[in-house]
């Protein structure tokens, strides 16, 4: 009779030992509730942050995805050997703003024998409208030889399939003048620093402007090939060859002044940005 409590005691002891052994088992994979019991949720915060405006939050976090950035790119600053003599040619642009709204500045022109020619500057508002495209609107001022012209501008720019950078801008000026500028460029890498940049630009005018020696229709086309070496990404000297062609009465004006409306020019220059 006395054996029953002893057996009970022994079995209880055995169970306890077994339980102990189980608890000691390093493998917890058989027991998939271990994490549930071990996990301790955090207490609620003693001090709770209130709502605040985005600018205040951004300033507190020192993290602002609306922050504005800017860039200035001197895409071409080059000396060209032309029939009229050596020319200094520039093509620059810059922007400042957020991811989807920017102020965009563009300028190009040339200086031959100390005189500025065919120069222009655009100031545009650039607004992203699609994955690869933005619309631009603003104004353009032409300067250099002849009377200055002012235009209102509207256009698109973006990255076309196959990595073509493209720009198309339509202009409306005084006295019913209209104009269009088309530009495309591409980059071909020979090495990580040696880059060939084909580029094409065309200008069209709605009506002729003899004072600036421009004919109506397709006025000029320029196709360039520039091979640059990026000493740094931001600093790249280059050499290039440019085929410059004038058409229609623009070409006539060139002929009249003793020039050649179709000319191959050699260029050397610098591309830089910051």
């Amino acid at each position: 009779m006395a054996r029953a409590p002893l057996t009970l005691f022994c079995s209880a002891l055995g169970l306890m030992l077994a339980a102990g052994a189980l608890a000691d088992q390093p493998q917890g994979s058989t027991d998939d509730t271990g994490s549930e019991t071990a996990h301790v949720p955090p207490d609620p915060p003693h001090h709770e942050m209130g709502d605040m405006t985005y600018p205040r939050m951004a300033s507190m976090m020192q993290m602002d995805d609306r922050a504005r950035t800017g860039m200035a790119l001197l895409d071409q600053l080059e000396w060209r050997h032309t029939a009229e003599g050596n020319a200094a040619v520039w093509d620059a642009e810059g922007w400042y703003g957020g991811d989807n709204n920017k102020v965009w500045f563009r300028s190009e022109g040339e200086r031959i024998a100390g005189a500025t020619q065919n120069a222009r500057a655009d100031v545009l508002w650039d607004h992203t409208v699609a994955r690869w495209w933005s619309v631009q609107a603003g104004a353009r001022q032409d300067f250099g030889a002849g009377p200055g012209r002012t235009w209102a501008a509207i256009g698109v720019q973006g990255l076309a399939p196959y990595w073509f950078n493209t720009e198309a801008t339509f202009y409306v000026g005084e006295q019913g003048r209209t104009a269009m500028r088309l530009k495309a460029e591409y980059e071909l890498l020979f090495s990580q620093r040696l880059v060939l940049q084909p580029e094409g630009e065309a200008n069209l005018y709605g009506k002729s402007d003899p004072a600036r020696q421009l004919g109506s229709g397709l006025s000029d086309l320029e196709i360039g090939l520039r091979l640059r070496y990026e000493v740094r990404r931001e600093f790249a000297p280059y050499i290039g060859v440019v085929w410059a062609r004038q058409f229609g009465s623009t070409a006539d004006h060139v002929r009249e002044s003793g020039g050649n409306p179709s000319e191959v020019q050699f260029a050397a220059g610098l591309r830089a940005w910051f």
Binding site: P26, Q27, G28, S29, D31, D32, T33, G34, S35, E36, A38, H39, V40, P41, P42, D43, P44, P45, H46, H47, E48, M49, M52, Y54, M57, A58, M60, M61, Q62, M63, D64, D65, R66, A67, R68, T69, M71, D99, N100, T128, V129, A130, R131, W132, W133, L159, P161, Y162, W163, L188, L189, F190, S191, Q192, R233, W273
Partner: protein, 567 residues
């Protein structure tokens, strides 16, 4: 708009002194430095329950060029903090910078006001101020801490945390070393960020060239090569785009030590050595291996897992893996951690004595992204056991999203670009099984699907096409179990970190796999994980690529009681 907070004038000059050993001659300091976090280096390891951490800026010279680091107690990396599970700890963090700062305890489950995110947890720590963090440590394992303010993490404010389990380590080792991976740059991080906004491929010096085209024509034929170029050209995507910031800007560090300086950890032959490996970098995924040694992974993100033995693993930013190695020979072994884009590596040595070294492997050849990485569902023959999840909402996320993954896949058993079929056994998420099961067995009450989106050219990053500034907070009901479904609609890996709550990754069948605080979602991948919203308050949810976070890949998560009150 230039908030350059890291100009050389931004540190307190009265505290200006040199970080010894980082800039000194290699010989003079080799002994001290090689110990890394060994106890011999007083101040490198802090333990107990009371901590005084002083954040400052100090001149350093890791590369031959002087720079300014953000340090804790004058150390780069910050001191190793040793805690014990169950202790209540107090950390007094003082700011000796001229700009605000903060410390986030990465992976620690702490009350929202102790989490260290300015704007969500607290106001941040202003110059000259001290913030007292106090919380009970209810977990164990390897974690880390870092600044959550601007680019201070990039300039050095990161350090390891090791928490001793109350009941002793499950996987006993004879010795342990912390391996903290990071980067150093001589560039101002503000400049890096601006540069990425101006020309996002600036740091990629492995773009495809005319020569590559000719090579491909020779090896693959003209037609397939043209077809390949056409596909990428139509998308306007670059298959070499593996990292936004590369070895061009970075020197990769192991325990704050450059590859040339070769951090060394000691062992005795036959010992079991536990390596606590933390990716504390700002922009780099590392592929890590130790030629000659098998790596037995025993914990992921501080959580013990069923041991799994591999040759190599990829460690995403902010991820943590504990591995055990058993060197059987009396020789040196190289710890080799190459960046995902193969533009550089961090390196160290395990050796029986100081001064020994082993051969350093050459970098693997640089991979190209595939159509599978673009979520196009091709190339599936490479990866058995994958099924397409035809689950893409025909979404329009707006102009700042440059691609959508048409056929995102689960691919939990995919080691990722550059590691597929490399002849080595590489860890995947499918190999990880956290011991003890999930923290919550309830099925998820709802799914919250978020797409990881971005625009490479503009360097804009977002969830569902919305930057932080454009998005409402995600609202979780206090106490609910929900499933977060992430679909990576970009061509980059994103390590996504939810503050305050664990993420429990599910297999394709919905079974529990592994509990993590930071979850890497591969390009074109769809990944689901359970979350229990048991942490009241406001929390950060973001990509841990620092410049992606700054560019908008950040959300607030609010855990609220149903009546709307936060507590």
């Amino acid at each position: 708009m230039n908030r350059s907070r890291f100009s050389s004038g931004s540190f307190n000059r009265s505290r200006r002194h040199f970080v010894q050993g980082l800039a000194g001659s290699a010989l003079a300091v080799a002994g001290a430095r090689h110990f890394g976090w060994a106890a011999a280096d007083a101040g490198a390891v802090l333990s107990g329950t009371e901590f005084d951490l002083e954040i400052g800026a100090l001149p350093v010279n890791l590369t031959g060029q002087a720079g300014i680091a953000t340090t804790v107690n004058g150390r780069l990396p910050a001191p190793l903090l040793r805690w014990r599970e169950g202790d209540v700890i107090t950390l007094r963090v003082s700011n000796r910078l001229s700009t605000p700062t903060s410390i986030h305890w990465h992976g620690m489950i702490v009350p929202a006001d102790m989490d260290g995110v300015p704007g969500l947890s607290f106001d941040g720590i202003g110059p000259g101020e001290t913030y007292v963090y106090r919380f009970k440590v209810n977990q164990s394992g390897t974690y880390w801490y870092h600044s959550h303010s601007r680019f201070q993490e990039q300039t050095g404010l990161y350090g390891p945390i090791v928490i001793e389990p109350r009941d002793g380590e499950r996987h006993r080792a004879d010795r342990e070393h912390v391996l903290l991976l990071s980067e150093w740059t001589d560039l101002d991080p503000e400049h890096i960020y601006r540069t990425l906004k101006r020309q996002s491929n600036y740091f990629n010096f492995h773009q495809r060239t005319v020569g590559d085209f000719l090579n491909d024509v020779r090896t693959q034929g003209l037609k397939p090569t043209l077809a390949d170029r056409r596909r990428w050209g139509q998308m306007r995507m670059d298959p070499t785009d593996l990292a936004d910031v590369s070895g061009y800007a970075y020197t990769y560090l192991l325990n704050g030590t450059t590859p040339a300086r070769n951090w060394t950890g000691l062992f005795r032959r036959g010992e079991k050595v536990r390596l606590r490996i933390i990716n504390g970098s700002s922009m780099t995924f590392f592929d890590i291996r130790i030629p000659g040694l098998k790596l037995t992974v025993v914990a992921a993100d501080g959580q013990d897992v069923e041991p799994v033995t591999v040759d190599e693993f990829r460690i995403g930013l902010a991820e943590v893996y504990d591995v055990i190695v058993e060197p059987k020979e009396d020789r040196a072994y190289t710890i080799f951690a190459q960046s995902l884009d193969r533009s550089g590596y961090a390196r160290g040595t395990l050796a029986p004595q100081l001064g020994m070294q082993a051969e350093v492997p050459s970098l693997d050849s640089r991979p190209l992204l595939t159509m599978m990485d673009m979520g196009m569902g091709h190339d599936m023959s490479h990866m058995p056991g994958m099924s397409a999840a035809p689950h893409h909402a025909p979404a329009d996320f707006g102009p700042n999203v440059d691609m959508l993954a048409a056929q995102p896949q689960s691919r939990l058993d995919d080691p990722g670009v550059g590691l597929r079929n490399n002849g080595r056994r590489v860890l995947t998420y499918a190999d990880l099984h956290t011991l003890g099961g999930p923290i919550d067995h309830r099925p998820a009450g709802r799914d919250v699907e978020l797409h990881l989106t971005g625009h490479m050219e503009r360097f804009v990053w977002s969830f569902n096409g919305q930057k932080f500034s454009e998005a409402e907070p995600l609202r979780f009901n206090y106490g609910e179990r929900l499933r977060l479904v992430l679909v990576n609609d970009s061509m980059m890996n994103h390590p996504i970190h939810l503050h305050g709550m664990w993420g429990e990754i599910e297999s394709e069948k919905g079974e529990f796999l592994v509990r993590k605080h930071t979850i890497t979602v591969q390009p074109g991948q769809r990944l689901a994980y359970g979350v229990t919203a048991d942490a009241l308050g406001r929390w950060a949810y973001h990509c841990h690529l620092l410049y992606h976070m700054e560019a908008g890949m950040f959300r607030e998560v609010r855990v609220e009681r149903k009546d709307g009150a936060a507590s």
